[in-house]
Symmetry: C2
């Protein structure tokens, strides 16, 4: 494993927090500033960092370009986009698209609600596996063996009183999710937020993504969130249909 690359990534992570000077970065990494300088020069060459007139380093446009390029290449994201935009517009709520990859569930798209209350989520972040609706939808489609393996490996952090507390409970819920074709998060992650999620399938019928609507209960009560289900399911089915027809 490459020490140099690891350090470069730590630099990027640090710059993700905000602009930094050379010395600050050297401090954080615990290495000589000469070393940091050279790493930064290489990163700058690749437009991953950028420094302003005051010698402050920022993350650069190359990073953004690469990220949005990769995101656009995800076919499912493109086909989902118009449907999710419409869903967000129709419900006025926050809409997420998430995918399962390599043992984790990651948000790959987000449409903000126009409510003043914004959600703490972001494209690229991991969704908790035991207390989010999207994760339940995605896990519910895994082959039983992997599902059990994943369920056993989760750390069941109890965020709220409703948070699922262990593998047995989770596996039972996943059964139900698989059967009913949608999942919910009834204040299991954030005490005042409820979500519903639905599966998006490709031609083969495998679940390739999950779409969700998240609503703070100051905006809608739990029962009202469930009333959004038909719209969500329709959107998810429409995306699946497009994905099936598209290729």
């Amino acid at each position: 494993m490459s020490q140099t690359v690891t350090r470069a990534l730590r630099l990027l992570a640090e710059l993700g927090e905000g602009e930094r000077s050379l010395d600050q970065l050297a401090e954080v990494l615990g290495v000589h500033k000469t070393t940091v300088l050279r790493l930064l020069q290489s990163l700058e060459e690749g437009r991953f960092v950028h420094r302003d007139a005051n010698h402050r380093y920022h993350l650069g446009a190359g990073l953004f370009a690469l990220s949005s390029l990769a995101l656009e290449q995800r076919g499912i994201r493109r086909t989902a986009a118009p449907h999710l935009a419409e869903l967000s517009a129709a419900t006025g709520q926050t809409v997420h698209l998430a995918a399962y990859e390599g043992g984790e569930v990651v948000y790959i798209d987000k449409y903000d609600s126009r409510q003043p209350v914004r959600m703490y989520s972001r494209i690229g972040l991991r969704a908790s596996l035991h207390c989010t609706a999207v994760a339940k939808v995605l896990l519910a489609d895994l082959p039983p063996a992997e599902r059990r393996r994943v369920a056993a490996a989760i750390e069941y952090t109890p965020y709220t009183a409703n948070t699922i507390a262990g593998p047995k409970q989770l596996l039972a819920e996943l059964e139900q999710v698989a059967a009913q074709g949608w999942a919910q998060d009834h204040a299991e992650h954030e005490p005042f937020i409820n979500c519903v999620a639905a599966p998006v399938r490709d031609v083969s019928g495998r679940v390739v993504a999950a779409a969700s609507v998240s609503v703070p209960d100051v905006v809608l009560r739990y029962e009202q969130v469930l009333e959004l289900l038909p719209q969500l399911l329709a959107a998810a089915r429409a995306i699946s249909a497009d994905a099936g027809a598209a290729r």
Copy 2:
């Protein structure tokens, strides 16, 4: 400069094109696959790459997370977001937000039109300095010295018959842009696309970003694009006002 980091970035760039196997990547870099493997392991540790069940490498969620984190930190992007979303909804056209940094103009946000014809642009990409409306708006606010320096350094690739051909012509146009408070791109970059752009200012009055509307002429004729100006200018002013009031 760090060879290792440079190689790691080339790996990422290559993966940006699509999934690759270890051997393919070693081929492209022209190094032994062992070397590539170790770089990839470090990148994987930082969640910048991810490999699927078939040992194919993809760009990973860490990259997306970092990118969207950095993008969200740009205050101007956040304050602009609702206004640009509305502008895009009201006009039905593609809306861009761009900023000037270190000698280049970069797109930092984009709202797609719902027209079937999509634009080839993406967050993080550089805008051509001599033939885009956003670049003109941003360059027009630079101090005269830097403006001349930048104008002299541009390579004036003639994309269409209307493309500005040299520094003198560009500087003259920038004068006009500064005076009238908006810029246009009348089929200067793509033969069938017209754009208008307007400046977004912060408290100090400096131009910190440019907002634009881009329209293929199969959708609207040039004169009709100019009719969008009032809406664009209103949006830009609203963003500026928010930026001024916000902090």
